[in-house]
């Protein structure tokens, strides 16, 4: 079908982004809105293959240590200034200070150079398998040097009216109400974007969001904007399309942090018992409405080098009880920290608590808001805690960080929070990141997965799926592995 030009889309954004300057703040909603304004060097197909965006083409040296990007010509910022390699160099420097993930991704980079206006060369300290996977807009957005260089970034006026190279330009933000983006007439891909305007509606209450969709006030509900319980009902509305695509890059995986340092969960048998005690199919079918998959181990099935040839933990309360007995557990209190991300997660916490109580564990739920929960997790002050994390396509980016002992550090809510420490695993992940070719990496990672699943450092639960719900007239909304976060440049309305 031939795309049609024109039209306005109303999408829901939740919660209200704290700002739109992607280089400074990077939570979900910011990415979703700013993915239209800013761009990265690359995009990724649903199969996680790199595709050109601001970089037209790229080459990798023999020793896999030098990556040369050729930038697209004729790209301009929204204010008309040209986009050049100087902007890339500046962005790398700035992101190292303001963007935690970019900072750790770029740790491998020895130096970045710009031989000319349209060429950028990254030289690595050592080969880094997943290096081509760090260039999408959320991980490394390009920032206009001419507006930020030499200013106090955090108070720069353009933070509130960001200037990017993307298909849409920032127009208006009524706090608490909506954010309005308009078409970039000078966009570097001719004919795109098709839409005239995007309204991001800010509706804080989940029930109100589904009503807004139902009554036709919004056309797009990005993943996670309504409670799962509502998805089946909304999908049945007429003229409504649902897709689970657009999460391949993130492949969110949910698990329970188990405190490996102290308390009952320091005992491997107890951790295994927890795996057996939890009815994960129930969670998938009832709490997530059948969306997603039961996780088999530390890696989501869409991630490179995934294997399901690992020990299995089916729902088996009897075995769980036996293991607990073996471990000598007798009723010590275990604190469970659910995730304060809304109803679904709360229900899930209740179900898990009930499962664990059924096998004789003494569970006390600790309730906190997001901030309080993060504090407790980062202080290692918990026994069991819910979380879900993105995997960023490659075990070296999103998996290893959760299990290697070098990633143990107080004061953070990600990485090795559980305090698992196994020299063998440390070595495997260290090798895996720099090994070539891929077949070698595969071998290493499969071994690591087996060891981890046997040890149960954390209790893996589900590969999550956040369906995007749209009116069927919205076409080609999701074309890449980061879905709605990659901007609406391909989307069009079938009127």
């Amino acid at each position: 079908q031939e795309p049609k030009t024109g039209g306005v889309i109303n999408a829901v954004i939740q919660p209200e982004p704290p700002g739109l300057m992607l280089a400074m703040v990077q939570n979900g909603p910011v990415q979703m809105v700013s993915g239209n304004i800013f761009e990265g060097l690359l995009r990724y197909s649903p199969k996680l293959e790199p595709q050109p965006e601001l970089a037209e083409s790229w080459t990798v040296s023999e020793d896999a240590k030098t990556y040369t990007f050729k930038l697209k010509k004729g790209v301009t910022w929204h204010d008309g200034k040209p986009f050049t390699s100087a902007d890339v160099l500046f962005s790398v420097e700035m992101l190292k200070q303001t963007h935690a993930r970019a900072r750790s991704n770029l740790m491998q980079v020895d130096k970045v150079e710009a031989p000319d206006d349209t060429t950028v060369v990254f030289t690595l300290k050592q080969p880094f398998g997943p290096f081509l996977g760090i260039f999408e807009v959320g991980s490394m957005p390009m920032v206009p040097k001419h507006l930020y260089d030499g200013t106090d970034w955090k108070t720069n006026a353009y933070n509130n009216a960001p200037i990017g190279t993307g298909p849409f330009m920032f127009k208006e933000w009524q706090k608490g109400s909506f954010i309005r983006l308009v078409k970039n007439p000078n966009y570097h891909e001719k004919g795109k974007p098709y839409l005239d305007e995007i309204y991001w509606q800010i509706i804080p209450d989940a029930a109100a969001r589904s009503v807004a969709f139902e009554t036709g006030k919004v056309d797009v509900l990005p993943g996670g904007s309504v409670e799962n319980f509502d998805v089946p009902r909304l999908s049945k509305l007429k003229d409504t399309c649902v897709t689970g695509a657009g999460w391949e890059f993130f492949s969110p995986l949910a698990w329970l942090w188990l405190n490996n340092r102290q308390g009952p969960t320091a005992n491997k048998k107890v951790r295994q018992a927890i795996m057996y005690a939890i009815d994960r199919d129930f969670a998938k079918d009832v709490i997530w409405n059948g969306l997603g998959k039961v996780a088999t181990g530390p890696s989501a099935s869409s991630i490179k080098f995934y294997t399901d040839d690992v020990p299995k933990y089916p729902y088996d309360p009897a075995k769980a009880k036996a293991l607990l007995k073996e471990a000598g557990y007798n009723g010590e209190k275990v604190r469970l920290l659910p995730l304060a991300y809304g109803e679904t997660w709360q229900r899930w916490g209740e179900a898990v608590k009930q499962n664990l109580q059924d096998v004789g564990m003494n569970i006390e739920t600790i309730s906190t808001d997001v901030a309080g929960g993060n504090q407790k997790i980062s202080d290692w002050d918990y026994d069991i805690a819910f979380t879900y994390l993105y995997q960023y396509g490659d075990p070296a980016l999103g998996v290893g960080r959760n299990y290697v002992s070098s990633a143990i550090a107080k004061g953070q809510v990600f990485n090795n929070v559980e305090g698992y420490s196994n020299p063998e695993i440390d070595k495997l992940f260290a090798d895996g990141a720099v090994a070539t070719p891929d077949s070698k990496r595969k071998e290493i990672y499969e071994k690591a997965q087996k060891i981890l699943v046997e040890d149960v450092p954390v209790a893996w639960q589900l590969e999550l799926q956040f369906p995007t719900i749209t009116r069927c007239k919205v076409k080609d909304l999701i074309t890449t592995a980061i879905g709605v976060n990659d901007g609406f440049k391909d989307a069009w309305l079938d009127k």
Binding site: A206, A207, F229, P338, T365, S367
Partner: protein, 279 residues
Amino acid sequence: MKQFWTSMLRNPSGLIGLIILLLAIAVAVFGPLLFPNSPWRMVQRPFLPPFTLSTVPLGTDALGRDVFAGLIFGARVSLLVGLVSTLVALIVGVPIGAIAGYFGGKVDDALMRFTEFFQTIPSFALAIVLVAILQPSIYSIVASIAVVSWPPVARLVRGEVLSLRTREYVQAAIVTGQSHGWIIWREILPNALSPVIVLASLMVATAILLESSLSFLGLGDPNLISWGYMVGAGRTVIRQAWWITVFPGIAILISVLGLNLIGEGLNDALNPRLSREGR
């Protein structure tokens, strides 16, 4: 006393309110004995509509838990929160009000500034912040409800004491050489009690509402089931499973209504002057 009960029982609204409250208390006290299972237990398939299975007469919620059992156990928490937080508010508010009203002058001034200060901060907002800071638990909820509800008690008691203090029988107690504590306790407070009791009955109602609002915002005690929690938990699925929210909602409505009717009845029974002339 006897007179009080007869006038209370003769008053239709007071009677209805009393019946409702007694029923609710009976449910809270004896209900859980009939339901030995935890209300959190997932007993049936989720979203089972009410009146389909006699074992779960009011249907099940999103996880397949018995709504009826939740209602029964919830009565305990909701009433407990209502009663205890009111009690705490009285324990704080009555002495402050009594001391301010009795001693007057600078003491009064200081205590009333203090009270005003608490009244200036929007109460629900303060309650939210307090619960969030103390971490949601039954104790923090009771404490923060009490913190936001004692100022009216203090003001009411102060007002009463202020006017009672100048009564001749109080002066008589002073001139017969009785101590301040005795005078406040024996001569003043018993006579200031009736408006306080009326206020207290309304405060219990307000506290139940407050608890439900906090639960609605996800600031309830995660280990205890309460009506507010049930409404909050069910609201996202209100479209496909109305019963999850409607039954606890009605439970809240009826108990709050009952308590208000009691308040009305108490008011009529304790301050007969007002109601006598219904013209």
